[in-house]
Amino acid sequence: MSEKEPRVETGEVKPSIDGYRPWPHRWALLVAWTTFPLIWVGGLVTTYDAGMAVPDWPGTFGYNLFLYPWQTWLFGPWDLFLEHKHRLLASLVGFLTIGLVIVVYRQDQRPWMRHMAVVALIAVIAQGVLGGARVLLVERQLAMVHGSVGPAFFAYCVALCVVTSRWWYQRKAVTGDPNGFQRVSVLSVAFLAYIQLVLGALLRHVPEAASTMYFEVAVWTHLVGAGLLLSIASILAILMFRGPVGDSSFRWLSYVLFLLVCVQIAFGCATWVMKYHWPTFVVQSSITRIYALIEAQGMLQSTVATAHAANGSLLLGVAVMLAVRVLRVHGGGLETKEMAAVAASSG
């Protein structure tokens, strides 16, 4: 995503391309930067169980979404404030995605890039419809799906940022990953990070009528996934630390990824303790004196739970950024066609 020329450890830097147009990248950044707060607000809607604070859709209590009296939602009940803000922000992301499609069609000649922009638009519309269906059908499990698609859209936006960046044009494929280990590990991290997000959404939207088995399996799978994610992220960081990696950004991205996984695990533990109290294996320990009383929907509980969800999306975004960059450098493939397309557009 960097506009600067990348420093290279192995491989070559392509000469700068005069035909490169930065607006698709800038617009993709704008969409991604707007989507992340949307994920926070969506997380707060889940934390406060405010998804049904507005019972109609796409309107708000009979008003057009954008004409709903601002005093009512800004100074009204907290649930209404969150849900309406979520809808407004989502609409903004939708409009920005339309803008992205227009900008990409005007400035980026790569056919697959244009397809990617259209897919983004379809995804954001589908996500909005999912949110609406959750409200109209009063279906908690649709909220779970909605909560899983949101981070996927964010990660997709991050991927768009990478493929529209100057870096993408300038990088040349190198052969620094002969065993494919980098590719496998970054893809595994991105895949696991997403599975973890889905499991987290299962836990956060657990239907009240679900069995204890449902919840237990989800919890244990989530824990095992966290362990795997930590292991692979650690190996990746060590690998990047020790050897030539293909691009300097891989190294710091792998460190950031590892850090985010650690922070995520810490947030996860805190979320559990603040929601369900200390786990059984420490419940007889004096450590339980530290946080003896849970305050339902208190500031700390809500912030930590939402931060856990949002950090999961950030982690996924970084994993996807790293994966797309690694695939670019070690994957080969598209380069010739791309260059031809860029040359054609600039010529």
């Binding site: 009240e208 009528a209 919840f215 399996v217 109290h277 786990p279 339902a296």
Partner: protein, 414 residues
Amino acid sequence: MRKATEFGVGLTLLLVAGGCGMSRYEFEPNRVYLRAQENITRVELSPVQRQDIQDILAFWFGTPDEPRFPALADVPMDEILDLELLQAAAGPVGSEEDGTNFGVYRRNCAVCHGITGDGIGPAGAFLNPYARDFRRGLFKYTSTLGPMTPPTDQDLRLLLERGMPGTSMPSYQLLADRDLDALVQYVKYLAIRGSVERALIVESVDHLRDADDRLVDVDFDRDSPERIAAALAELTPLISFLARPWLDAPSRVVEVPPRPEGWDSSEAVARGRELFAGQVANCATCHGDDGRGDVDTVDYDDWTKEYFDPQNPRRVHEYLALGALKPREMVTRNLQWGIFRGGSEPEDVYQRIFHGIPGTPMPAAPIKDADAPATDLRLTTDDLWDLVAYVLFLSSSGDLVANGSVASSNVSGQ
């Protein structure tokens, strides 16, 4: 290998079940209690007889989305339960433009206590202690006299507001007044409904000898509500019997006497320490002399004892298969931690000692009548305040007490 297989099957079930079946909100039958009663009486109810119990309950008490309660001739049910608040607590989560909430129980309680109030919500198995099963109508922290006397609305409300430190039960002090009142009503509703279900189970296993026998001879799908109500009239005394104590609960409240002068003086603490270790109060037998609760005792709460016999532990598997949670031993409270589930104000501790903790091995203190002779060794209210002083001293100076020397000089010597 078996664990891995179970995990794999569970994961598959999770994914399959993820899309269906869990949006149906129905009260679960009390299968565990039914099996326990069947095992005691050696009578197995037929599917029709079991369904009758559920149909009767649905007729009287409605569903999780539409709760109701029957009108009784001898007990004014609407003085026990407020239908409007009940309906606010029931059903799916939602709210109105003015912030009026609905589905308050599902939003705040059901993930642990379950839709039925059986303490087996989705997260139930992870909690320690387990979430309360309301269906016995038995509550630990009450201000009312007698272990079987239900709590008052105020008791339940207080518990909701301040939560239970040291457990998964949070404080709901941030909830609106109306939401808290709605939760109180809904908990009472679940308790009464659950108690009636248990009574119907007992009634069934006691009186239905043949598979064709039925509690009532009606067709719940086809007969008119009037005909069903008439047929159920002979069973309504069960509800009256179980609901009346809720009506009478406020009159059974035992007021905590005011703290006597110098109730927390070092002399009071020293007296409390003697009582604590003595034969009458007998606290040290479980809590240990220093209140650390590390005395070896094996016991279970009344909810667990209903399906678990420590003498015959293998028998529990048939109940686990019916959804019961794995039995957990009671753990005597470490008083030095200062975590008091029923409240840490001196009056709260007084009440715990006075009433005991119903459903657990913690008994009510033996209290001396005002006109009892001097030879009566039971405790006076002043003795109870001395015990309170000592218990609170333990929690505030636990580390010093554990040290031993401080305990002997500061507490007993003065």
